[in-house]
Assembly symmetry: C2
Homo-oligomer: 371 residues x 2
């Protein structure tokens, strides 16, 4: 597959058709590149819930476009549509931020034309901001990688990541792998260790696909091997994304991230969490308040891949009688995090550092009172 990475987007308005949103159906990757047309908010809700698209930033943008499609269908359906979209997946913060933002923008607008136009503007704004913030995260994070490269005298910098928080998880550019990709483009020698990320294997199928198609050196490993690579000096830096960040720097990310950060701390490997500010939930003091989505256990019991005959096939891995549990995320405490990389730069994982980085968002009540 030839992908135009310079102009890559994961969600966009169909050319010549303002009533259709197009997405990449990520369920077919890495083996097929399928584009799906979405024309109703119901279709968008299914696409989010059943993970045709996924990733914190992309879910947010899909929420924005979903609201726009709802307004086209029925100009007065905004509140119902927001509730429908919010109910699809419970953990990622950008989804709720997007629907809130749409509701605020639509407030007071009466005519269908005005409402439609405003909803489109906000949807495009959310998408563009996401792509732009991810680009900036790439630039700030690349500095960390360049410093490691200099320390190693130009030797390859080994970057470990978990799940997919690359371009596919956002509107473009990504967060976890954005710095490494930027460093690679700037001529720094990098190599990624890609956790396959069970149960849905977004690392093996999506991150590996991105890196493979960009020609960036990488190896896929099982999630359990991540500790071994850090313990044996094969990792210089860990970079992951986040689905929701509490204001103290605790963060929820794909199941398995907590163990990766504990092992990184034990092995003295610096470990960063990269995210745009839309991921921060300023209303919650610690990660304990983040709801953890539990998904269908069959996502653990079955796995999909490509059979030798070239057909996508899912296979049963467990005895028929064995039940499974399937938490989609876990929470990594700030104490295990070396630093946070946002669109504004790098900071410590603490409430003070986050407030310092985003003073206007940190304390909305104070902001209002000083106006």
């Amino acid at each position: 597959m030839n992908v135009d990475w310079d102009n890559f987007r994961t969600i966009w308005l169909k050319k010549g058709d303002q009533k259709t949103v197009q997405i990449i159906d990520q369920r077919s990757l890495p083996h097929q590149f399928v584009i799906e047309d979405i024309t109703t908010v119901d279709q968008m809700a299914v696409a989010i819930r059943d993970m045709h698209l996924r990733g914190a930033g992309l879910i947010g943008a899909a929420g924005g476009y979903g609201m726009y499609l709802a307004i086209i269908e029925d100009p007065d359906s905004a509140v119902k549509a927001a509730a429908k979209l919010n109910a699809t997946r419970p953990t990622a913060r950008p989804l709720f931020a997007a629907t809130e933002r749409q509701l605020a923008a639509l407030e007071g607008l009466q005519s269908a034309t005005e409402r439609r136009s405003a909803a489109l503007d906000v949807a495009e704004l959310i998408a563009n901001e996401d792509a732009d913030h991810c680009r900036l995260i790439g630039e700030h994070g690349a500095q960390l990688i360049k410093e490691l490269s200099e320390k190693k005298g130009g030797e390859t910098v080994n970057i470990a990541t978990h799940c997919n928080a690359g371009p596919l998880a956002f509107v473009a550019n990504g967060t976890a792998t954005s710095p490494g990709i930027q460093a690679h483009r700037d001529g720094i020698r990098v190599h990624f260790l890609v956790d396959e990320t069970r149960p849905r294997n977004q690392g093996a199928s999506l991150t590996a696909w991105e890196l493979d198609s960009m020609g960036i050196p990488h190896h896929v490993i099982v999630d359990g091997a991540s500790g071994h690579t850090m313990q044996t000096g094969q990792v210089d830096i860990v970079m992951v994304g986040a689905d929701r960040v509490a204001r103290n720097g605790d963060f929820a990310n794909k199941i398995g991230t907590y163990m990766k950060f504990v092992a990184a701390a034990d092995s003295h490997v610096p470990a960063f969490c990269n995210f745009p500010s839309s991921t921060v939930d300023w209303s919650i003091p610690t990660g304990a308040a983040i709801p953890i989505e539990e998904r269908n256990p069959d996502e653990v019991r079955y796995i999909q891949g490509l059979a030798r005959d070239g057909r996508p096939t899912d296979v049963l891995l467990t005895p028929q009688g064995s039940p499974a549990k399937n938490w989609a995320f876990d929470v990594t405490p700030a104490r295990l995090v070396t630093g946070l990389v946002t669109e504004r730069g790098v900071c410590k994982a603490s409430e003070d550092a986050l407030r310092g980085m985003f003073p206007e968002k940190a304390s909305p009540s104070r902001r209002v009172s000083t106006r």
Copy 2:
């Protein structure tokens, strides 16, 4: 499948045929129960290397029976056969212990009949000892679980395990799950959290199969979810097996064990490593000296399961162009281990404690000099 767990063995001499060893071909589990006839040392070497059978204790017993088959074929082939068997897999200590023991027993025996008879005796002795030691590990470890049960007022004790170190990994009884199975038989309420254990999924396919067919409550989880379960108070005790133990208590076990023990320590969950003394390599001071087997990367890139049409099928999980790395084991440092459970009882993970438990093995040079 109805399994007679009271008389269960994973390797045995065929009834009425002293020249054939039978094993369970574990590659077909959990979906089929296949018994394989092994009549030559070459077949046994293939069965070990290609993992028709696996697990530290069972590999040891297979080494013992493999030597016996070699002696039947050619009474003078012992040294060559030992080298062949030792070359199959590099990490598990009991394999080398078994071939060494056979060579020592055969030394000085001249007649083919004598050699054959001695080799059979040693093979049966190794197998019986393994089954017996695992039974004792179950009894000692069950005490720990009973104490937890009492502390919880009879509430279910949640036991987390990794990979398969149950009956299938040994001649019988197993190590990691032996205490929990014993406690269950003694009427204690237990529940297992079974890591699926990528890449070969011995947890999802073998441990789950054992527990399912014994009717013991369990859930399969992805390896990355193990930290989340411990962090959120859903685990009372971790018990795993070992493939090789250094004399300071560091141990090699299935890839992913190190991360599990780091997360257990971080979450204040007691974590034990259970093994018979044949697993201890008294010649190495720390785990750093344990060779870590690297296997075919296609074990990561492909996975086998049962397709919807009921046929065993392997499917590709990664892009065709993405390479993988596949370490079979990692090393858990003794500092992360709450205790060791052996056939003689429970002790700390330290050289002093291990020497105290096995004084006759700890210092062979001193033992000889005092005779």
